[in-house]
């Protein structure tokens, strides 16, 4: 078997391996989403029971929610807890002894529950305001209105708001152990791949020239296509499986008299069923009571789902495989194609072989590099590539869908700078933040370094040590302390102002004071770095230069301008570049001091990206945002590097 054929087979093998690894990850994340949805459905059903109870004033309705909560753990195996919480009081609880009880204010877990309720309430309110303000949202939510938590033992808790007339009334929360879902694996693909590879290994060794290239291309293309198709089918299978399990869960509720489910076999065509839609995206913001439901195919029993009092909730994209329009070639299969295609080209060009030779020749160098590179590969590069790829996707129906450039276009084409969430507004704030910080850091740091660089100055060691302290203190601590110092009533700044006869300032109510709080905090902790760098550079300037200049009659300013500054530059320029990148991405200070107050105006790009991901639940948008930030920084450093030649020496 010749070398080129080996390269082809190796390329195909790596592509198959990559496929299996990714399929494994995808399998796990699908299974987790299924578990979360399953618990969420129960929580919503419980919330709905509460709404029914408060709407109907007959005897039958009395205690409906409590009956439902008590029945849940019995009806559905794995359910550990279910309750309705209004502020700090349980309206209903699966443990009858806790119904009507209040939360224990001393308990840490109860505090978490209280905070979750508050968070949901705030999200409901914010969504209303957001829709009021921004009509392009339509019925959609800007905030997710659902809190999912996974305990170390694997149990999943989902909390959702219970709304009456659009107002937040209580929180419904259900905790359940995950249902065991057997791992499904697209075994066909590796089998098919191995067969192809064996075949090619047998035949390919005898081929030469064009025949070899054509054969190798055939092998790779065949494998990639097989993967792409198998992947799609497999994903549909997994989803259908989850859908059936979901119906089974609903059936369990039904058998306990909690629900009645109607399933009328009408063939596969009827599969996309909108039982009710989750309010995270596309259609109805509120859950509707559904009288009947249609599920096709091999769900065995016919269950009648009497909606009198209870409803079934399920997201369409989940119950119906492919209902969201068929995923076809996913980002993953495109990824496999790229990997396999790349390997194919490498193999064809003989680069793999050359790389192998290089690895042998430079084995020492690569041996020293490899531990760091393996770590970087798994925990830095793969996350980064995955993160960037998320920028081209968005979560719809609880799963990531490929949306092309939508996120980037959404970010960059909105020129309404009057809204603080606007990208260009944020960019302006970030540039202002970075420039003012770096200017202050450098000027203060350099000024102090010049003062300290005097060999006859007494006690300069003490000054130097004390002035480094701000750098040494962990910055999240600094941020929290400074936030306290800017407190309107008790903060040191307002007390000082009052002592001097000024009015106290409400620091976080308008833009400039809030910006000032961030700026002063960051200046405090940032100047020592520049001071230390300047001091180190100043100390390496030989004193005879100054002596010669004095002899020549140079003034103090001339000495600074013509000796000190030029000799400082080689150390200062890289420090300024690094400082700029750090300040541009300085998350902790903004997030912890002003927290973006007022109304997100003082947020910079990085904190806003965080909010898109973890507060507004838009990972795709956040990833696109972060990618844009990254591109800005790379362009900035490339340009400054070109101009200043700061890293030139390092590459030699």
């Amino acid at each position: 078997m010749n070398r080129a054929a080996t390269s082809f087979v190796a390329g195909a093998a790596v592509a198959t391996l990559a496929f299996l690894t990714l399929a494994h990850f995808e399998n796990r994340s699908e299974a987790r989403q299924f578990q979360e949805r399953r618990v969420e459905v129960m929580a919503r059903a419980l919330g709905f029971a509460q709404v029914q109870e408060s709407l109907r004033e007959d005897d039958a309705a009395e205690g409906l929610a409590q009956r439902f909560a008590e029945a849940l753990p019995k009806a559905v195996p794995g359910v550990e807890r279910a309750f309705l919480l209004k502020r700090n009081k349980y309206l209903a609880h699966s443990d009858p002894e806790l119904a009507d009880q209040r939360l224990d204010s001393e308990s840490l877990t109860d505090k978490v529950l209280f905070d979750q309720g508050r968070k949901l309430e705030a999200e409901v309110k914010n969504n209303d305001e957001e829709r009021e303000r921004n009509h392009s949202l339509g019925e959609r939510n800007a905030y997710p209105e659902v809190v999912v938590a996974q305990a170390p033992d694997g149990s999943v808790s989902v909390a959702v708001p219970v709304k009456e007339d659009g107002q937040f009334r209580a929180m419904a929360r259900v905790t359940a152990r995950p249902e065991e879902v057997p791992t499904r694996f697209p075994v066909r693909v590796p089998l098919f791949g191995v067969a192809l590879m064996v075949l090619f290994a047998l035949v390919g060794g005898r081929l030469k020239g064009y025949a070899l290239v054509v054969g190798g291309t055939g092998l790779t293309v065949g494998l990639v296509l097989a993967q792409a198709w198998a992947y799609r089918d497999w994903q549909d299978e997994v989803r259908a499986d989850h859908a059936q399990r979901m119906v089974a869960t609903l059936g369990q509720l039904g058998q306990a008299g909690l629900l009645e489910l109607a399933v009328e076999p009408e063939g596969a065509a009827a599969l996309p069923v909108a039982l009710a839609q989750r309010p995270d995206g596309v259609a109805a913001p509120d859950l509707k009571m559904v009288k009947s439901a249609t599920v096709a195919g091999d769900v065995p029993d016919t269950l009648r789902f009497d909606a009198d009092g209870v409803a079934v909730y399920y997201a369409r994209g989940f119950l119906a495989p492919g209902a969201a329009g068929g995923r076809g070639l996913t980002i993953w299969s495109i990824g496999f194609a790229l990997i396999a295609g790349g390997l194919f080209i490498l193999g064809a060009l003989g680069l793999l072989r050359r790389a192998g030779d290089a690895a042998v020749t430079h084995r020492n160098a690569y041996a020293y590099m490899s531990p760091a590179m393996v770590g970087m590969l798994v925990l830095v590069f793969i996350p980064v590539i995955y993160g960037i790829s998320l920028g081209f996707q968005e979560k719809q129906y609880g799963a990531f869908q490929f949306v092309g450039l939508d996120n980037f276009i959404g970010i960059l084409s909105d020129f309404d700078v009057s809204r603080p969430e606007n990208f260009y507004f944020k960019l302006g704030v970030t540039v202002l933040w970075t420039v003012s910080n770096v200017t202050l850091h450098v000027s203060i740091g350099l000024f102090l370094a010049l003062m300290l660089n005097d060999q006859f100055l007494k006690a300069k060691g003490i000054f130097r040590v004390l002035l480094i302290i701000p750098w040494a203190v962990p910055n999240y601590i600094t941020a929290l302390i400074w936030k306290g110092m800017f407190h309107k009533q008790f903060g040191a700044f307002n007390l000082a102002l009052e002592a001097m006869g000024f009015e106290p300032v409400a620091w976080f109510n308008s833009f400039w004071p809030a910006f000032f709080t961030n700026l002063s905090t960051n200046t405090w902790l940032g100047f020592p770095f520049m001071m230390v760098v300047s001091l180190g550079a100043l100390q390496s300037i030989p004193t005879d230069l100054y002596e010669a200049a004095i002899v020549d009659g140079a003034s103090r300013w001339q000495r600074f301008r013509n000796i000190t500054l030029p000799l400082l530059m080689p150390a200062l320029v890289p420090a300024v570049i690094v400082g700029t990148v750090w300040t541009f991405n300085m998350f902790n200070i903004i997030y912890l001091v002003s927290g973006g107050a007022p109304n997100g105006a003082t947020d910079i790009l990085i904190t806003d990206a965080f909010r898109w991901a973890f507060e507004r639940d838009k990972y795709g948008y956040a990833a696109a945002y972060s990618t844009v930030i990254f591109v800005i920084l790379v362009v900035f450093t490339t340009i400054t590097n070109r101009i200043t030649g700061a890293t030139k020496g390092a590459f030699e």
């Binding site: 590099m369 770590g375 000054f463 999240y476 929290l480 230390v532 100054y546 420090a575 790379v634």
Partner: protein, 279 residues
């Protein structure tokens, strides 16, 4: 640049007064935290004086007796120490290769280390969470350690490589003549000669792990696995803050880092300026 050598000339006295004023202003918030830590009440202390009125240690006692502080301290120590060892080892070997060997893809590797610094952390959080979860390391100290060590590497590699570059090659060539292997040169010559830079690298790795807050908050679910930053943040609540306890904790958290900074301040000045670029 003052070329008279009288330490008590008028100019120097003025300079010292100015520096003293700046230092007091800079240190004031720190003194104030010390005061809150020594004051038993949990309010945010209103008086401007940096001295506590009735100092006692009740806040520190509370931390150790009533909270998991000792547990968090242990977690942070374990994570930071392992991160430092791992990060320094990985960075030293990589920096050595980059400084002393010429091999294909060397420039790309260096560029990667440089660019990695610019990735917004947010971009990494969701993917990292998924990967760490899939490795089965969520809510475990090991997972956090691995992530910290790798995020600390790029900065450390650049700094160490800059320092290695300043060490003359003659030494190694002489050793090669005497029959030393590259491994022996690395362990016996390079590392001992670059101890100042290694110390600074260790300090930065340590600080990465000791001070990091967001990833720890996202990865760690159970209180017994919290690191110090996450634990401390639980005292700064949304509705009320136990300022006395927080200040006491803040001081205990800061002491090791501040002590390390003071111990290494000479190396800090040299280590940061030697390489030229610390991207």
């Amino acid at each position: 640049m003052n070329h008279d050598n009288n330490p008590f000339s008028g100019g120097r006295i003025l300079k010292m007064l100015f520096l003293a004023a700046v230092t007091v202003a800079v240190v004031y918030p720190v003194l104030w935290v010390v005061k809150m830590a020594l004051t038993p009440s949990q309010g945010f202390d209103a008086s401007a004086s940096p001295l506590p009125s009735n100092p006692d240690l009740s806040n520190f006692v509370y931390l150790f007796k009533e909270t998991d502080f000792l547990r968090w301290l242990l977690n942070s120590s374990v994570v930071s120490a392992t991160t430092t060892l791992l990060g320094v080892f990985l960075a030293c070997t990589a920096a050595y290769a980059l400084s002393r060997f010429r091999f294909p893809l060397r420039a790309s590797a260096m560029m990667m280390f440089l660019i990695q610094q610019m990735f917004p952390g947010v971009l990494m959080m969701v993917p990292l969470y998924i990967i760490v979860d899939n490795l089965g390391l969520l809510d475990q100290l090991l997972g956090l350690t691995l992530v910290y060590a790798t995020t600390a590497i790029p900065f450390c590699v650049w700094m160490l490589k800059g320092y290695f570059d300043t060490i003359p090659r003659d030494l190694e060539e002489a050793a090669l003549m005497d029959g030393a292997t590259p491994a022996m040169i690395f362990w016996r010559i390079m590392l001992p000669l670059s101890l100042p830079a290694v110390a600074v690298t260790a300090l930065f790795s340590f600080m990465t792990a000791w001070n990091e807050f967001i990833l720890a908050a996202i990865f760690m679910n159970s209180s017994e696995h919290y690191t110090l930053p996450v634990g401390l943040k639980t005292m700064v609540g949304q509705f009320s803050t136990e300022w006395g306890h927080f200040a006491a904790g803040a001081i205990l958290v800061s002491i090791p880092v501040v002590a390390l900074f003071f111990a290494l301040q000479k190396q800090l000045v040299g280590g940061l300026t030697a390489g030229g670029v610390k991207g």
